[in-house]
Each structure stands twice: as structure tokens, then as C-alpha cells.
């Protein structure tokens, strides 16, 4: 059954979108703020915020926040993505007011304390990252000269009523989530934004911290975010299952890799198709990437209606039966599935990115209406024009 997605903005307040799932046991909440284009220092601030936002609010300690949100197995946590920062949690059925109280508290009254922030500023620059996480995010943040006052100002700049999208999915009656969240957020008025408008710190060239000599090569290209059906179709053709182009071309035909993935990933300006290959030992990256590009283009020429049917069927298996991961990720290596939390993610992200909440059933319908002659040119252009990124350990 397709549930009714109801979006509401409280005057100039946050956008609240609800997605009632009568049979669910839990309530899932996603609170998302859109990120502006970040410079190197702001990226560092966003990372510090991701790891310290939930340290406590003026109303609740960190332990209390965790305690209140650990009753369904998904305690509150914060996630940074290229175009948004969000926190998410779930609560048992019947806890809408509590969910709204927790959300309101973190949105408006987070207390960033000096001790936690100083500790993050010391540890985050040195944190070790796996080859895969370096492949996914390789901009170099600049952690120097970050003060608590600037971070607090940045937090208030992001968490402004007009910049916040809240999605609530799960066990409640239509209208009840909206009502509960409105009750606690309706007095939230935008205050003067004192955050400076000018960005100053450029990204320094990125250098891997890793010594392990694993190399990833990538082709990536920008897609139009409004083409949701076409984007999902091409990502499914490229990346879903053992019949996908990346599996058939990169692993089976070229024998270049054990791990190769194609998926949709947010970017500042829109959404990217990313094709990442972990090269097997002894393969030369520049030669490999051009061989991949050439063979993928040949494979695109050979696509048929059956290829589209296979891709849409697999996506349907993902979003109706949970049998395979979809090619859209809510964080690294985490495909969006069908849980209330994932549904809340799609609802919030669709609203934030395109102004329209997404849900799996509506997206599937769009994917099924995509035609072969629409897909081929987009895919060919995406591969031909794709930028190359090579990430190697030292």
C-alpha cells in the first residue's frame, strides 16, 4: 500500500513530513539540515559537529538522549553527508511526543562544550580511515583555528527553521506526527544569522594517511537530481547484482577487481553516479581506468529492454522483499532499504533535495517508466565525461 506523505511547513518554520505505516512497531525520525557549499574549515567544523552534536543539550545529557532512544535498537546518532547533516533515531510506538521533545532539544538547544570539542579537534585529524572510506570522501578538512564560538555559530547557522527538514515514519495515525512536532516547534522563530557569508579556506591537496597499498580507481559524473527515475535506473543497470555492468565488465571480463560498486551519491550541486573499483595487485591505475571506461561504453551499446527489465526487477526485489541492496546510499556502504528509518531517510532527502518527499513505491513506478532510448545517451554521456579519481595508499 502506498502511504500518504504529508508535508507541512510551520509558517517560516521547519518542513515536517510524515509517513504513517500502520503495521509498524516503531517510529523513526530523521532530522536533516542542508549544508551550504563548504570550504575546508567548514568541512572540519561539520565533522566536529557530527561527532559532538549529541554530547548533550541544555535539557538532556548524552546518557539521557541515548537512554530515551535506545528502546528499539536504533539509538540516536549523527551522520554527515556531502550535502546534509542529519541525526536519526527511533522510538517505540506511542512515543511521538517524546520523539518530538528529543528532536526539538537537539535542533535548538544542543550544548557544544569545550572539553568535547577540544578532544574531537585533537583526534579527528589523526583518525585512521579505511581504503573504502578514503575512496568515498577524500576532501581534506582544515581543523586549524576552529574555536568553540565559531562552531556554535555554525550550528545555529545550519539549524535554522527554514533549513531543517524533519521526516517521521512509522506507527502513528495520519496527522499525529505533524501535530506532535508542531506542538514543540511552533514557537521556534528564526533569529539573526550572524554566521559570516564569505568562505576563506581552500582545500589543500589530499594525501592518503594509509600505508597499505590498496588502490581504488573511480569514474564519477554529475546527474540531474530531478531525474530520479532515470538516475535510479542507470545506477541499477550499472551496479545491482551479478548481472550488473560493473560486475560483468570489471570483474568477469577485465578481471581487474574483487570489489567494484556503482551507486548514487549526493553532491553539493546534485547527485553523482560513482563507479569505484578496488584494483587487484599489480594493475596499473591509469591503464585500468581507461580500460574500464572503454569496456563500459561498449557494454552500454549492447543494452536491451531486457537489461532494463532486469535492473528494475532487482530494484523491486530490494524495495519490496529486501533481497538485495538498492543503489542509493544513506551513508557509505549502507543501501536504502525498507525499514521505517530508511523510509524516513528517503522522505526527508527527497524533500530536501527536490522539494518532493520520496518513497520507494513512487520511485519504483518512475524507474519502470524509463525507456531504453532515454537511458543509453545519459549513461554514455555519464561514462564518457566522467572524471577520474585515483586513491592510493603510500
Amino acid at each position: 500500500m502506498i502511504s500518504l506523505l504529508v508535508a507541512l511547513s510551520i509558517a517560516t518554520g521547519p518542513r515536517i513530513v510524515e509517513d504513517a505505516i500502520p503495521k509498524a512497531n516503531d517510529i523513526a525520525v530523521q532530522v536533516m539540515v542542508k549544508l551550504p557549499e563548504l570550504d575546508a574549515r567548514e568541512l572540519a567544523m561539520a565533522r566536529v559537529l557530527e561527532s559532538s552534536l549529541l554530547s548533550g543539550t541544555s535539557e538532556f545529557t548524552q546518557a539521557q538522549l541515548l537512554d530515551m532512544t535506545s528502546r528499539t535498537g536504533e539509538p540516536i546518532r549523527c551522520v554527515l553527508m556531502p550535502d546534509h547533516l542529519r541525526f536519526q533515531f527511533s522510538m517505540p510506538k506511542g512515543s511521538l511526543d517524546s520523539a518530538a521533545i528529543v528532536s526539538n532539544s537537539v535542533i535548538r538547544y544542543a550544548e557544544l562544550n569545550q572539553e568535547v570539542v577540544s578532544s574531537k579537534l585533537q583526534t579527528l585529524p589523526l583518525a585512521y580511515r579505511s581504503y573504502w572510506s578514503e575512496a568515498i570522501e577524500n576532501r581534506k578538512p582544515d581543523y586549524s583555528r576552529i574555536r568553540l564560538s565559531a562552531l556554535t555559530e555554525f550550528y545555529h547557522h545550519l539549524f535554522r527553521p527554514e533549513n531543517v527538514t524533519i521526516a517521521v515514519s512509522g506507527a502513528f495515525e495520519e496527522g499525529k506526527a505533524k501535530e506532535a512536532f508542531q506542538k514543540f516547534l511552533q514557537d521556534w522563530k528564526p533569529e539573526k544569522d550572524t554566521y559570516p557569508k564569505f568562505h576563506l579556506v581552500d582545500f589543500a591537496p589530499w594525501v592518503s594517511q594509509r600505508k597499505r597499498t590498496i588502490t581504488t580507481v573511480e569514474l564519477y559524473s554529475e546527474l540531474l537530481p530531478s531525474d530520479t527515475g532515470k538516475n535510479l535506473m542507470i545506477a541499477s543497470i550499472m551496479g545491482l547484482g551479478k548481472g550488473s555492468l560493473v560486475f560483468q565488465v570489471i570483474r568477469e571480463k577485465l578481471g581487474l577487481s574483487y570489489r567494484q560498486e556503482a551507486f548514487l551519491w549526493p553532491s553539493q550541486s546534485g547527485i553523482q553516479l560513482r563507479i569505484i573499483t578496488v584494483l587487484s595487485e599489480g594493475k596499473e591505475p591509469k591503464t585500468a581506468i581507461e580500460a574500464i571506461r572503454k569496456s563500459l561504453l561498449e557494454a552500454v551499446d549492447s543494452l536491451t529492454d531486457d537489461s532494463l527489465y532486469r535492473a528494475s526487477s532487482l530494484l523491486e526485489s530490494s524495495w519490496t522483499e529486501n533481497l538485495i541492496g538498492a543503489p542509493i546510499l544513506s551513508e557509505p556502504s549502507r543501501p536504502v532499504g525498507t525499514s521505517p528509518m530508511d523510509r524516513a531517510y528517503l522522505v526527508a532527502y527527497g524533500a530536501l533535495k527536490t522539494g518532493t518527499p520520496w518513497n520507494q513505491n513512487q520511485l519504483l513506478e518512475k524507474v519502470k517508466s524509463v525507456k531504453l532510448d532515454e537511458v543509453k545517451p545519459i549513461l554514455k554521456t555519464a561514462i564518457e565525461a566522467a572524471s577520474v579519481r585515483i586513491v592510493s595508499g603510500n
Binding site: L66, R71, G73, P92, I214
Partner: protein, 385 residues
């Protein structure tokens, strides 16, 4: 005080189940989930008699890669084209091949299992290809995996070798050796065929029995005794991070429940850490690791005050309960875990894990927490960034 944790809906309660031991000692287990939209089939082969030794290190892994290809070399791809999905895993105590699909495709799934159990003729070429793929798999194995492998060696010596394998040993394997190894691994006493979905239980049981009944009884096999646990510190090569492991008896025991709660409590206390455990009825390790740095996890565990330990008790217990409950409420996972328990020697029910978590007292939890501290646990540290 923490009250009993109880879920609002436990899907696996009152599920019709049928377990049959065949004359050749293979086991068929079928459970019906009325509203499940999909079926799952799990062919579990216990590792009795085929556990890793320095001479056979990785042969089960190679075998897993070869058998799931089926007789035409592309069984998984063929299944996927028809909307069925095959996944295979090799653990220390069992190899698991799972096939999932819509309920009306159950017979296709069973046919595929028949092909996996059927004639097996590896060639030098197919063997070489799969060993090459496994070498690539090993080269990119995660830091957590490498830390874990090192901790098992520290804990149990060669009896704790990982199931991933040694490229040198695998490269020397011959088709005849792999075929003989398969006969031993697929000895009926090692095999459990478990099925979940919405179907006629009796008919499905009969179809499953027909697949296993024709396998000739093999030689009597027993599990290798892992021997006593040895605590201590070890350096893990080619990785970065820190891991603490503690020994547990089988996953249905109270000792495991207490350590699971303690492990979860540690992950709550130490941001970025994660817990690793593979369900089994055999003695094993439960581990907590972190790879963002290699000095922090141990300090947090060893330096935890009584207030820290007490403060994480409720959270740890809830996280443990809901982690297990989440798995058991998924029909596929429920049946898979039950099949592994049957294959590793017990007919007890996985839901006993929830009862055990509810029984754990603060004193048991506190003792379990301290079992992760440096004088009682295995510490694995990787310094290669």
C-alpha cells in the same frame, strides 16, 4: 532497576516447525512463517573434520567459491536472472549457502540446492581462477577482520585459524584434494537443510528430505577441540586499530548473554567501536574493535570506573536484546541461526538467547565487562596505517 525487556510482537513465536533427522544423520528443518513474502533456504555444512589446520588453511573457502558456481559455472547469476539470490559464507564452525526468493519460486531454490549437492568436478583452471579471486579478497580484507584473525590465533593457536585461508596453501590445492574435502564436509552428519517461508510444511519437508537422503553416510566426525583460551597481547600485521576479545561458550548460554551485554555497553562507551560475533553453539570469541585509532578502546575498557560500568548497564542490555530480537524477527535470519545451532550440535531454540539476556544480573554483567579488561582478554593491536 532494569525490568524484563519484552518486544511487542515476536514474529517467531508459535511458528509451525518440523525437524527431521534422516537415517543417514542429515537434518532437515522447516518453519512456516504465514505472512513472509519470501522463502529462504539455508544449506549449512558444519566444519566437523574439516576445520582449518596449517595444512588445509582456506580449503573450505575455496570449496565455497567452487560449489556455489554449480555445474554450469554460473549458478548464482542464473538464479539472479530469475529473481532469486544466493549468498555463501564460510565461518569457523560452518559453511552456509543461502538462497532467497518469492514463495512461488521455492522449487527453483531447492533445485539449485540439488545442483550444489550434486556432481562436483573442479578443474585445475576453475580452481586457479577461484584462488585468484580469493587472493584479491584477502588483499582488501578490513582492519577489523585482520585484528580478529590475530586475536583467534592468540587465543587458540592453530586451532583458531581464520576461515579466509592462506594463499600459499590454497594455491597448492588440487582438484582431487578439493573433491575429497567436499565429500568430508558434505558428510550427512554435517549437513542441515533449513527452509523458511509461507508454504505447506509437510510437502516442503519431503522435498528437502529427498535432496539429502541420497547422500551416503560418511565416517564418524567430531569437532576439533579448540583447547584452553589463552589471554595476552598480539600484534596484527597489515592493519590498524585495536581489538579486545573474550571467550564465550555457545550463544545460548548465560555467559554469552552477559558478555554480549558487556560488549554492547563498551560500544556505547567508546564511539566508533563495533562488536563482532558469529552465532554458534561452540566455544568462540566475542570481540569489540575500533580502527579509527589504536589507542583508546583499551584505555576506555581498562579505565572504566564503577560509575561508567553501571551507567552503561541498561543501555548495553537493551542494545543486546534488540540486536538479537531484530535478527530473530526476520524469518530468514531466524531460520539461518537455528540451522547453524543444529549443525553445531544443539536442538535448543535461538529465542533462548533473549531469555538469557533477561536473566543476566548486574553482578554477571560486571564480571563480563571485566573479562574484556587487559588481564583477562586477548588484545590485538595493528600499527600499520
Amino acid at each position: 532497576m532494569i525490568g524484563l525487556l519484552a518486544a511487542s510482537v515476536l514474529l517467531f513465536q508459535d511458528t509451525p516447525r518440523l525437524r527431521v533427522e534422516l537415517p543417514n544423520k542429515a537434518t532437515v528443518f522447516v518453519e512456516r512463517f504465514e505472512k513472509a513474502p519470501t522463502f529462504s533456504i539455508h544449506l549449512v555444512a558444519a566444519s566437523r573434520g574439516t576445520e582449518e589446520t596449517p595444512q588445509t588453511h582456506g580449503l573450505r573457502h575455496v570449496l565455497e567459491h567452487l560449489v556455489v558456481k554449480g555445474p554450469r559455472g554460473n549458478l548464482d547469476g542464473e538464479l539472479e536472472r530469475r529473481g532469486l539470490f544466493l549468498r555463501a559464507f564460510t565461518y569457523r564452525d560452518a559453511m552456509v549457502v543461502s538462497i532467497e526468493g518469492r514463495n512461488d519460486q521455492l522449487d527453483e531454490g531447492l533445485r539449485a540446492i540439488g545442483e550444489i549437492l550434486g556432481p562436483f568436478e573442479p578443474t585445475d583452471e576453475s580452481l586457479k581462477k577461484e584462488v585468484g579471486i580469493i587472493k584479491s579478497e584477502l588483499a582488501i580484507s578490513s582492519d577489523a577482520t585482520r585484528l580478529l584473525s590475530a586475536s583467534w590465533i592468540q587465543a587458540f593457536g592453530d586451532n583458531g585459524l581464520d576461515p579466509l585461508g592462506d594463499p600459499e596453501v590454497m594455491s597448492k590445492a588440487t582438484p582431487a584434494q578439493i573433491t575429497a574435502f567436499r565429500t568430508k564436509l558434505f558428510s550427512p552428519k554435517n549437513l542441515v537443510l533449513a527452509i523458511s517461508g509461507s508454504f505447506d510444511t509437510d510437502k516442503t519437508t519431503n522435498k528437502a528430505k529427498a535432496l539429502l537422503a541420497k547422500i551416503a553416510p560418511g565416517e564418524p566426525l567430531t569437532f576439533l577441540d579448540r583447547g584452553p583460551f589463552k589471554s595476552g597481547r598480539t600484534n596484527a600485521a597489515g592493519c590498524y586499530g585495536e581489538l579486545r576479545s573474550s571467550p564465550t561458550s555457545g550463544c545460548l548460554d548465560d555467559d554469552f548473554a552477559a558478555k554480549l551485554i558487556a560488549g554492547m555497553a563498551i560500544t556505547a562507551l567508546v564511539p566508533g567501536s563495533s562488536l563482532t560475533y558469529t552465532f554458534t553453539n561452540r566455544p568462540a570469541l566475542i570481540s569489540v574493535s575500533r580502527s579509527v585509532d589504536n589507542s583508546g578502546l583499551g584505555m576506555a575498557i581498562d579505565g572504566a570506573t564503577q560509575t561508567d560500568i553501571a551507567g552503561a548497564w541498561g543501555l548495553g542490555k537493551r542494545m543486546a536484546y534488540y540486536w538479537i530480537e531484530g535478527k530473530l524477527n526476520d524469518p530468514t535470519e531466524h531460520t539461518r541461526i537455528r540451522a547453524i545451532l543444529l549443525a553445531t550440535g544443539t536442538s535448543r531454540l535461538p529465542e533462548e538467547m533473549l531469555e538469557a539476556i533477561n536473566r543476566v544480573t548486574f553482578a554477571q554483567y560486571e564480571k563480563a565487562f571485566k573479562a574484556f579488561q587487559s588481564d583477562s582478554s586477548v588484545i590485538a593491536v595493528g600499527g600499520d596505517r
